[in-house]
């Protein structure tokens, strides 16, 4: 009697619970499981649940014995699960548990080590909503012999290694439908990089004593990269070495990259040394400020020193947000007294001056927002810290004239915009720089227009025009106070990726000209050949180019990639 009363009480409480649960979903018809089908392939078993409508599901596993649990919210079964044919599969049985109100649970007994993935399919052709459950046996090789049918399916051995291709590590791990166990840790580290041999042949005799007519140089840039946890954690290391026969300042080493990065959903956190590029224009990179220029590498300023940083990126519908904390400052490299393309005297890089008392340990900050809207790509940034671009100050204490780099503290706000209108790229970079010496603004703006398939060849020909302005006028460090750049870019679109860029920079105040021709092509799969020709004309001693007026040169570079 007592027992019966208890049963009824339990029954009643279950009833009321179920009623409450159902009342929450009264506006939804229960989802009927109309059929369960079994498919076999050499390396997995597939269960397809035919459903009367879209379903929310949860996948989990239980141990001892190993069970895969599929829970369907609002599900009802209209079939007998014992009628599902299971012979030849790793499934030992399917139990239905509808004890939890408002949900239908399938407990699928499987061989130990089996892992499960599930996904839903929308109606297609004559099939309705479906939930698909794939069961992989845990062993490297699985042989599923289906004994039931008359047809003998060709059996293949498929290892999971073959399935986990290189492509799989580029994306985050599958989250929605995997079993709750962590994805296996997979290290796929690899080395790559290059060695290059180059020479610069100077056409004129050196202007200053100690300088050489030519130099030979060997550079080595290995790169190691590894990621794990489905690509969500990454480590990169890339040192750089150069040996130069003429200039001991050009013989140098640097760590370009040494970082660890963690990605999670829309967030990415990076700690270590890396190179970051901002900007859109071609003839000057005005807004690019995170990294210091490795000037001994190339006077075009495109080679950068590795910058120690903490970096947080966040991506949402409103754009890409980047925060940088830069705890250590890198001094710009300058050619030594034996090198060409230098000032007289050569910049004394051993005695840099800093406005900040913390010197190179001053902590800099930068924040950047960038986004694309239709044809427009926009970047807005602010940098607070040590200027990457030094003023060069004359110091005659001790009787000998020295040129010392002076790094000011700056607050620099920048804007970069590109409008991509068919074959036209319209570009603007602008900065406003506040500092103790002289606040100023500067910009570079212009276009690149490309003609595709010129003269019935596959080649593309682009015309570039950019105008540079700097409010400081003659005081502008880079001398781009009122200059026009005109260039032509040719891309042959051939198998060797032959490319050439020729341009001149014309100073509208002094009428001086700096010319630059670059070309490159690939030689087979591993080699490439590059050349650059640089010259100045019409310079005078008031001009920044005066120091390099006798440094016209042809550079040839042969690179072996590995």
């Amino acid at each position: 009697m007592k027992r019966t009363a208890l049963s009824i009480a339990v029954f009643l409480s279950a009833m009321s619970y179920e009623q409450r649960a159902l009342s929450n979903i009264t506006d939804i018809d229960p989802i009927q499981v109309q059929d369960i089908r079994v498919g076999l392939s050499p390396d997995n078993t597939r269960l397809v649940f035919d459903l009367s409508g879209p379903v929310t599901y949860r996948l989990s596993t239980l141990e001892n014995p190993t069970r895969v649990v599929v829970e369907l919210a609002g599900g009802q079964s209209s079939i007998d699960s014992s009628s599902v044919p299971l012979s030849g599969t790793p499934i030992r049985g399917i139990l239905i548990n509808s004890q939890v109100p408002g949900s239908l649970r399938y407990l699928i007994n499987v061989d130990p080590g089996t892992d499960a993935q599930a996904f839903v399919l929308k109606p297609h052709e004559n099939r309705g909503h479906r939930l698909v459950l794939d069961l992989h046996s845990g062993e490297g090789e699985t042989l599923v012999a289906y004994s039931g049918g008359n047809r003998a399916a060709p059996l293949q051995h498929a290892t999971r290694g073959q399935r986990a291709g290189k492509a799989s590590r580029t994306g985050p791990p599958t989250t929605a439908a995997t079993s709750p166990s962590e994805p296996p840790v997979e290290y796929t580290g690899e080395w790559s990089g290059y060695v290059s041999l180059d020479s610069r042949l100077f056409f004129q005799s050196p202007q200053f004593s100690n300088q050489k007519d030519q130099d030979f140089s060997l550079a080595f840039r290995p790169e190691y990269y590894v990621d794990w946890a489905g690509g969500s954690q990454q480590f990169g290391f890339s040192p750089f070495f150069r040996y130069d026969t003429a200039d001991d300042h050009r013989t140098h080493a640097d760590i370009r990259e040494l970082y660890w990065r963690l990605e999670h959903e829309r967030w990415a956190f990076k700690m270590g040394v890396d190179v970051v590029f901002w900007g859109v224009t071609e003839s000057q990179h005005l807004v690019d400020i995170i990294n210091q220029t490795d000037l001994v590498e190339n006077i075009d300023g495109e080679e950068k020193l590795g910058q120690p940083m903490l970096n947080l990126d966040y991506l949402n519908d409103w754009g890409n947000w980047q925060l940088y904390v830069l705890p250590y400052f890198r001094d710009r490299t300058f050619p030594g007294k034996h090198g060409r393309l230098r000032t007289e005297p050569a910049v004394d890089t051993r005695h840099p001056e800093y406005e900040s008392g913390s010197k190179e340990k001053h902590v800099d900050f930068a924040l950047r927002w960038s986004h694309y809207v239709g044809d427009w790509d926009i970047g807005l940034a602010h940098f607070s810290g040590t200027s990457r671009e030094p003023y060069l100050i004359r110091d005659a204490t001790g009787g000998q004239l020295k040129l010392l780099p002076l790094y000011l503290q700056i607050e620099q706000t920048s804007l970069d915009v590109q409008a991509t209108k068919g074959a036209w790229l319209w570009k603007l970079e602008a900065i406003y720089n506040r500092n103790t010496l002289m606040d100023y603004y500067a910009y570079v703006s212009g276009f690149e227009r490309t003609s595709f398939g010129v003269a019935d060849t596959p080649a593309d020909l682009g015309v570039l025009l950019e105008y540079h302005y700097d409010e400081r006028g003659d005081e502008a460090i880079n001398g781009l106070q009122s200059d026009i750049y005109v260039g032509l870019r040719l891309a042959a679109n051939d198998i060797d990726s032959t490319m050439a860029l020729a341009g001149i920079l014309y100073d509208t105040d002094t009428q001086s000209v700096f010319g630059n021709i670059e070309a490159s092509r690939r030689l087979g799969d591993y080699w490439s050949l590059g050349m650059e020709l640089r010259f100045t004309t019409n310079t005078d001693d008031k001009d920044n180019l005066y120091f390099i007026e006798d440094d016209d040169y042809l550079g040839i570079e042969l690179t072996r990639y590995f």
Partner: protein, 278 residues
């Protein structure tokens, strides 16, 4: 159900409900040939293209490894290796990332493309040497991709709206009965006046395309081979071979390692995230 019978991945398939199975077979037989009504050639061409497109609906995302073998007229080969990631965008063209592994000087270079049905595509290029992400013009449809016989437009996502159609005839191609459809590119930047496409009637898979240049002479032929089916639905050719009839050069594109629903998200296909792709 009929997908199941032609499935390569799931050859053996049993239903828990044999009666239901046979009913379905019957219904397939009855619904086969949905294009029997009298239609104009343009309507029928569009209907074929729409059907082919709808069969690819719902793939979600996919990744694949590519090898491109470029052969010049002297028979010399060069090899390119790439990885491709695709994301299905409902009601618009797919988003796509191509990352280069070979040749080595291009290693890490990546191209992000937002394909659009009616407006111009959007494209960004990532240059690893400078760590620079650069928006590039998508007007270059007809230019050769990596010095190969494939043009950019041959490799971009084939949206229904990118062509006007005209059904020509039924024709057997290597024993497979095909629809032959003429497609005229709607984009004025296209390098073609027209394309003739062969789609098999059974699965609406592109089997062959003849490309006619701006002078309306036959320029190239692409043959698709070794179709395999994924997720019980989506067919992918493992090999595309493009032959240029005017130069005698050819390029073979081999796909490997197709994976579907790998968990790629929209945020992976963003210019701001392009520099993080390896």
């Amino acid at each position: 159900m009929k997908n199941i019978f032609r499935s390569l991945a799931y050859r053996d398939f049993r239903s828990a409900n044999a009666i239901r199975l046979s009913t379905l077979i019957l219904s397939i037989v009855l619904t086969q040939g949905p294009l029997v009504q009298a239609e104009s050639a343009a309507e029928k061409g569009l209907a074929i293209a729409t059907e082919a497109d709808s069969r690819d609906n719902g793939f979600g995302d996919s990744t694949a490894d590519l090898a491109m073998l470029i052969e010049n007229s002297a028979g010399e080969l060069s090899r390119r290796e790439m990885r491709q990631m695709s994301l299905e965008v409902p009601a618009d063209g797919d988003k796509n990332i191509m990352v280069f592994d070979r040749p080595r000087d291009l290693k890490g270079t990546a191209i992000l493309t937002f394909t659009h049905k009616t407006t111009p595509d959007e494209q960004w290029l990532y240059l690893p040497a400078l760590k620079r992400v650069k928006r590039i013009s998508s007007a270059d449809k007809s230019g050769p991709f990596m010095g190969s016989e494939f043009a950019y437009e041959d490799l971009s996502s084939q949206e229904v709206e990118k062509y006007a159609y005209r059904y020509l005839r039924d024709e057997s191609l290597e024993g497979e009965l095909c629809f032959v459809v003429e497609r005229t590119p709607t984009d004025e930047n296209s390098g073609y006046t027209k394309q003739i496409a062969w789609l098999d009637k059974k699965d609406y898979r592109l089997q062959r395309v003849d490309y006619y240049d701006r002078k309306n002479t036959l320029l190239k032929t692409m043959l698709a081979a070794d179709y395999q089916q994924y997720l019980d639905q989506y067919w992918r050719a493992q090999e595309l071979r493009m032959t240029n009839h005017q130069t005698g050069k050819s390029t073979t594109l081999k796909y490997q390692n197709f994976q579907f629903r790998t968990g790629l998200k929209d945020s992976n296909f963003n210019p701001g995230a392009l520099s993080r792709i390896r």
